[in-house]
């Protein structure tokens, strides 16, 4: 999967130095949705950086993920304003409901979960985004309903 896409990105950066490593990884993630293992090796071959080093760098930053996203990608805001109105409890609730932790994808590939520090919409807290649709001022039962309705739609 995505082999051609990656080559396209690599070609664009072919004559750049190692400072373009992060932009390359970002572009790969934008296109594929995550950083596949063989992509890391290919990038390493091109930039002449050991794959282990690239993996170390990618895991250091919050942005990169290494597994495919679910069909419904849930992004939950856990900024300080959201935390004050109970987003941490919501997170526990979602984790329990979907049986995954933040950064993981459910086995059936339906849901994936990501927690971000702040979405800058603190007056709407707590806030959740599912595939680009915003759900604001959430409650526990509200989250349950959203998850249920998604499950039913499938």
């Amino acid at each position: 999967m995505g082999e051609i896409d990656i080559n396209e990105i690599l070609d664009k950066h072919r004559h750049h130095g190692s400072e373009s490593l992060i932009p390359i990884l970002q572009e790969i993630q934008d296109k594929v949705g995550f950083i596949p293992e063989d992509a890391i090796e290919e990038v390493g071959l091109m930039l002449k950086i050991p794959a282990a080093k690239i993996f170390g760098l990618a895991t250091f930053y919050n942005q990169f993920r290494f597994g495919p996203r679910g069909k419904f990608h849930i992004v939950l805001c856990n900024g300080s304003a959201c935390h004050m109105v109970g987003s941490t409890t919501l997170l526990e609730h979602i984790e329990k409901d979907l049986k995954i932790k933040s950064g993981q994808t459910t086995r059936n590939g339906l849901f994936s979960l990501e927690v971000v520090p702040c979405m800058a919409a603190c007056s709407e807290a707590p806030l959740m985004v599912v595939n680009g649709i915003f759900y604001s001022k959430l409650t526990q039962s509200g989250v349950k309903e959203i998850l249920e309705s998604i499950r039913k739609s499938q």
Partner: protein, 623 residues
Amino acid sequence: MALWNEQRPFIKFDKVTRPVIFVSIGSHAIVSGAESILSAITAYVQEQAIDADVEVVGSYGLFSLETLVEVQLPGMARVALKQIKPEDVGVLLDSVLNRFLPDGKAVFQHRSDLHQAWPNVPFFDEHPFFSKQHRVVLDLCGKYNPVSLPQYVANGGFFSFAKAIRSYTFSDICDIIDRSDLRGRAGGGFSAGKKWRMALEVAAESRYVICNADESDPGAFMNRLLLEGSPFRVLEGVALAAYASGANRAFISTRNRYSLAVSRLEEAIATLQEVGLLGENILDSGYNLVIKVKKGPGAYVCGEETALIRSLEGKRGIPSSKPPYPTTAGYKGKPTVVNNLETLANVPLILSKGPDWFRSLGTETSKGTKIFALSGKCAETCVVEVEMGTSLNSLLDLAGGMAGESTLKAIQIGGPSGACIPPSLMALKVDFEELKENDIPMGNGGILVYDEKTCIPDMVKFFMGFIQNESCGKCIPCREGSQRMLEIYQNITRRPVTEEGHNTLERFKGVIQLEGLAEVMKDTSACGLGQTSTYPVLTTLKYFREEYEEHIFDRHCRAGVCKDLRVYQIDLDKCTGCTACVKKCPVNAIAGSPRMPHYIVLDKCIACGVCLDTCMFGAVVTH
């Protein structure tokens, strides 16, 4: 020039020949559905064949008004209408275009001698939110199209830059900024002019300027508003800083999540390159400048300048020890100036209005204005710009005071690496020195408001969890210290497993150690992240010690936030004896016979809350 003078009022919307509809779009407005409103308005204008312009503008910073739509009719003042929904669009435009304002929608109008005012609508400078602010840097945010260069130039934009590269030397600009006493807005408070001069005085074939807009702490969004609302002002500031320090390349590092800000910045840069205000031989001066936007991959530690530089070099964002300072050896070993976005956004204004104008604002030691983002339990989530020397109390007043009936418990200034300030210190003024005397860092400008339903140890636990996650792991005090402190906080906000052995003793010891641990971490951490992340711990221990003691000795959380410390009971009148909770209880702490009221054996209960979730009759109560 004559043509420009003729055109300028039209570009500035001082004169309009046909109605103009402004739609405020920022990332916050998008959450409240601004994009669908924009398309509804454009569709309506087209359908009804209305001869009107539609402009996208940034946000004013008062988020409860969103989505904000402003309308300017020929000869009438520009009026703002709040909380527009897509379904309102037709009715709204119909009535406004016929010079009739719908009830309760108008918030303010702009004062202008050229226009007739709307009756019964307060002016912009009379609106309680805006009247007490001193909007200098945010001046253009919300009023003009962020990506329109003509609109920025019509408001005096790029005059400073053109003047600078035509008639000043590098060092002249450093002098002017030095005279204005502009200090770094990211918290450090280092003089910007001095920093540029330091980079300028190092002999090197290339120098760099990095604009730090990578605001990664939870609850800070002032940089985002500024980037989305007036990217040209930021770019002009970056260009001036680059010129003053003799750099030919500049980076703006922002968060990868700020997609709207990035796209607006990139559009603005492309426009500037097209007209020749960026690129090679700018305005025939022989000066070259390239500005690039870099999307930060998300690491809090990259707020530290050395870490940010390493991240831009394509390495892990790990800070290195100073000296050498970045101004001597920074990006790729070359002299590099790292400035906060807000600092740079002040620069064009200082050059156009003069350093004395800037010195007239603020206090003895801190000049100019400061932008704050307020969130939490205040009535309004907002971004405000106030003169230095404004008291914290008046900042809270700008946000409409407390939300609803709640009372103020404390404010957290500067996010996870800031101090917690009790109401008794709210009279303190926003001033680098005055805050420093009270051992409070200025921070970047994020303010979080706590009310009586906020649990202090829980908030510090939250911040410490964030720090523990974001610590780069290079130095031991920060890596291990944040981990230990998080464990201690988890321990005191949790019910003890048993009362036997040393369990209770360990809990007490934790708190005694907490203070020492924080002191050590503050003194020995390698970078700002570790040093400043102890502020929430130390300040809350100082001002809210009794709340810690309650958690440890009485195992009681007065705010009712710490779930594990809650006591669960069954309301005998409501319980029907359905035994649903009995089956779910993991420790068999619920007793009673079927169809009779049950009760919870408190000694066995682990406060997991399953019974509360299970009960369909609301019989399980907590206190």
